[in-house]
Amino acid sequence: MLLNRKGSGARWRVRPDGPDKVTGKLAYLTDMTNPDMLIGRVLRSPHPHARIKAIRTDQAAALDGVHAVITHKDVPGLNRYGIAHPDQPVLCEEFVRYVGDAVAAVAAESAEIAEQALKLIEVDYELLTIVDDAEFALTGDAPQLHPQGNLLHRKTFSRGEVNAAFEQCAHVVEETYYTPRQMHTYMETEGGLFIFGEDGRLTVYAPTQHGFMDRMQLSRILAIPQSEIRIVSSPIGGSFGGKDELNVQPYGALLARVTNRPVKFHNSRWESVRAGLKRHPMKISMKTGVDGNGRLIAHQVRIIADTGPYATLGAEVLNFAVEHVIGPYRYEHVDVDGYSVFTNNGMSGEFRGFGGNQAIFALEGQFDRLAEKLGMDPWELRLLNMRKPDDPGPFDQPIAQTEGAKQVSAAMTASSLWQERGKHLGAEDEHAEPWIRTGVGAAFTMHGAGLGFGIPDPGAGKLVLASDGKIEAVFSYEEFGQGLIATLEQMLVEQFGFASEDIRIVIGDSDAVMDGGSTTASRATSMMWKSLQNLRPLFEEAVLTKASAIVELPAGQLRFGEGGIYAIEQGSDAHAAERLMTYRELAVAIGEPVTCTTQFHFPTSTTDLVGAHFLYTYSAVAVKVEVNQLTGRIRVLHQYHAVAAGPVINPQGFLGQIEGGSSMALGFALTEDAVMSEGQYVTKNLDTYLVPTIAEHRGTIDVHPIEDLPQEDNHGPRGIGEVGSVTLAPAIAAAIYDAVGIRVTKLPVDPEILLAASVDQLLEKAVSGE
């Protein structure tokens, strides 16, 4: 059944954080101020690659209103950051490797003074050869950007003998696919407020997706214990992976320490574009062969990912891409060779989809091309080669077995949108303009959730009956617009019976919560669900036992309900039961908070392949597009997403994630690319970097969740935060081919390839016979 407001009934709830967001009342962390605060600014390299010969800060420091100018010499601890591998200088010493590299930072009494101070800092650079192409970077001719060279990471996976196997293939398709440098384009740019308290502890109010990781990294940079740092990291005005890594936090913390004043940072959009992360541009070359019946025999892939100047999560993104270019199909022979390569281009890093978007665009393109060679329906070819529930995962690793692949495929092929396919060809509208062509296409994915084998992936949560009678749900996860607060509240209401007024949600504050890992990798809902599964018997036991002594009824006859504790009356209507006492009365009677905690690890596969996943979400997407051959421009008319991800915890959140993900995929497919030339951004702002507007979203989106899981499955809801962003682009490419017979190999789609080849073609229908 399609997911919508009407069908969801009472489960469609008002988002607790909704009213304050839509009225603008909600203060984000970057809205915070302090009467004593200074304004911080960073001096960034104008050059993509240079040696620093000298930095002179005297003039800047002497400017009235400037309180501090810092360089690498002022970093007391490790002058590096990076979630997986700290190799990015907080403040550069000898080399700058991209145009966002930080050379100095200033704290001043106003933004204008701080900016003037930046102009007064003199840096002597010796320009070095720019490495702006990842394949050039791998050659011996390229300057080496790091002591270990220009290769951040290589990931391979192989089985069988592909080269020999291609000899046996009846059909082989070789193609190279290119994907864009997409920007997260969160509405709230990076920033924060940094305050050392009277107790000497640092409080950081800055958006991040993993407060404890920021705390660890900042402690390393400042050379102070982690216990001396508090990270407040929620609410966030959008992140999509882009704020998981540190951005302005090191400068805010260092300047607050040097000046002993609160310091505020808030990037302009220009600075955000220049310094911030982007999706890895990838060049993916694939050679895939089948036998005469369409059975896959061999699949060979080479991935070149432009990771930019520093590591952050470049290696992990590549691992994910390598796993997902194999995807949900079974091959006898596989050979994948992936390279994540340092360049002097912009920073690439974590982004919703995490390497899957690029991989699936290429992989699904291969199936459409092979089907054409075979004269077969493209979806039949997929079904023929699709994994079975008990097949191992892409890396041959054991995975949680579900029917997801089959289910989404069946749902998609039964959809009215897919059924429409082909019909338009025979019965084109007499009145339609002859240059408008429509087509239908589809694509498929299995998308891993969690960080994968070999990477710490903890989960944790806490439930407290607080002294004031509130039920506190305490988690380390962050609300960045995805609806985490709403989903947590919905689980507490539906699973425990609390009213929303009974609940207080505490998130995103490292002093208040346990480390439950990052809010990334489509994992937060799964981890909260699992936490509550673990906590429910513990919390019932702890609280109802205490209540039992007070109300003088056996604990087994008590239950949680709206506003307080109720008796379970056998055989009668539970809702009509009388409340025995309120939570507040209970809390007062107990006299101290009642706390239950749980800690566990995200489920992983029994494998030794780093990054291999255990839980997957399956999705099949069909899309109808209109190609205007006058302009080569595309309109997406209708989308259908079947998503097998276990139970829908929050219908509104589920729909929002799939629609929102698909919106990002629309940009990835049609309009978005942070263009660079010789290491400089050409798209410096949102006037040339074009995200889709409401005008691009005039089409309808149907979301069909498939909730069944096998009886024995106890992993609950699977991640849905990313999957909506993965499968649309290849489906659009297939629909374009259906419409005009042109294959897309590069995203965003270049309208020029879709223009009518001649005036005759343009007006074929119009003037033939005249």
């Binding site: 400017l63 006058l630 040339t688 343009l762």
Partner: protein, 297 residues
């Protein structure tokens, strides 16, 4: 940009002259240090991107009543659009829609509502590449300037042909754009169309902007053909050769094919980092060919 004793940037002085003579005098006084501003939407982006420095003096012409006049002279069938008329006002004006419908359509396609509320027709024209220009060019537009007196008049196309190289106009104040409503010959049908093609569907810089207006007589021959093309950094212009070629001909396949070829050959758009010249030529030829086909149906 203004600066204090430490060299720290300050906001410019903003002047609010109440008439054109006063505004012009201020500009005379400040020279290059003074810049006229109306909506300020384009200036802001130029300052932010470093294309222009924030001036010491901003001369806000918004308080000059004369520049806000929008009207139609019934007798001469000429429209008068004061330079301060915003794009939102143009988009919603019944007067404009009735007499100069392509201009309504153009305004609908420029920027976004919040910007159209500030941005003016004067600013759009003086940018030399505004998306209103191809529409205006079909209505025999004349620019009215103040250069010490109110008498200077100049056809828009003439100004466009030299504006990029001769900067003398920057010393003058644009008062209004005057448009002539096309007359409709008896027994003919008028056909008009406006297209803006960008890299997305809304709030986007133009790649190709096209406007077309023509008359069809009862035997489907074309007359009073007016076609203008612009887009991106291309200064818009009328396609006079194509207009002459089509006049008196039926819009049949042969004529359309020839026009398509003429545009590919003669239209010289500017490319940029995002969209090459080759696309712009083909898309422009396609748009005009398709409109001729539609007109002929």
């Amino acid at each position: 940009m203004a600066a204090n004793a430490q060299g720290v940037a300050e906001a410019p002085f903003v002047w609010h002259p109440s008439n054109t003579a006063e505004a012009w005098q201020l500009k005379q006084t400040f020279g290059a240090e003074g810049v006229f501003t109306a909506g300020g939407t384009l200036l802001r982006t130029q300052w932010e991107s470093g294309l222009a420095a924030m001036p010491t003096h901003l001369i806000n012409v918004g308080a000059i009543e004369e520049l806000h006049r929008l009207g139609m002279d019934g007798e001469s069938q000429t429209g008068h659009i004061g330079t301060m008329i915003t794009l939102s006002e143009i988009r919603t004006s019944p007067l404009i829609h009735k007499n100069f419908p392509l201009l309504t359509e153009a305004a609908r396609n420029i920027a976004a509502p919040s910007i159209r509320n500030l941005a003016t027709i004067g600013g759009n024209v003086l940018s030399m590449v505004g998306d209103s220009i191809p529409a205006l060019l079909l209505y025999d537009p004349v620019l009215h300037w103040h250069d010490g007196s109110n008498g200077l008049e100049e056809p828009l196309s003439e100004w466009l042909s030299t504006a990029a190289v001769h900067a003398a106009w920057k010393e003058r104040l644009l008062i209004a754009v005057e448009l002539a409503k096309p007359t409709l010959d008896t027994n003919t049908k008028r056909f008009v169309a406006y297209h803006k093609v960008g890299r997305r569907d809304a709030f986007t810089p133009s790649v190709i902007t096209a406007a077309i207006s023509l008359q069809l007589d009862p035997d489907h021959r074309l007359s009073d053909v007016r076609i203008a093309l612009g887009g991106g950094q291309t200064i818009p212009s009328r396609l006079e050769a194509v207009e002459a070629f089509l006049t008196g001909k039926p819009a049949d396949k042969k004529a359309i094919t020839q026009v398509y070829g003429m545009i590919l050959e003669s239209f010289e758009p500017k490319g940029d980092a995002f969209v090459p010249v080759s696309y712009r030529k083909k898309a422009a030829a396609n748009l005009i060919a398709s409109e001729l086909w539609k007109a002929s149906r």
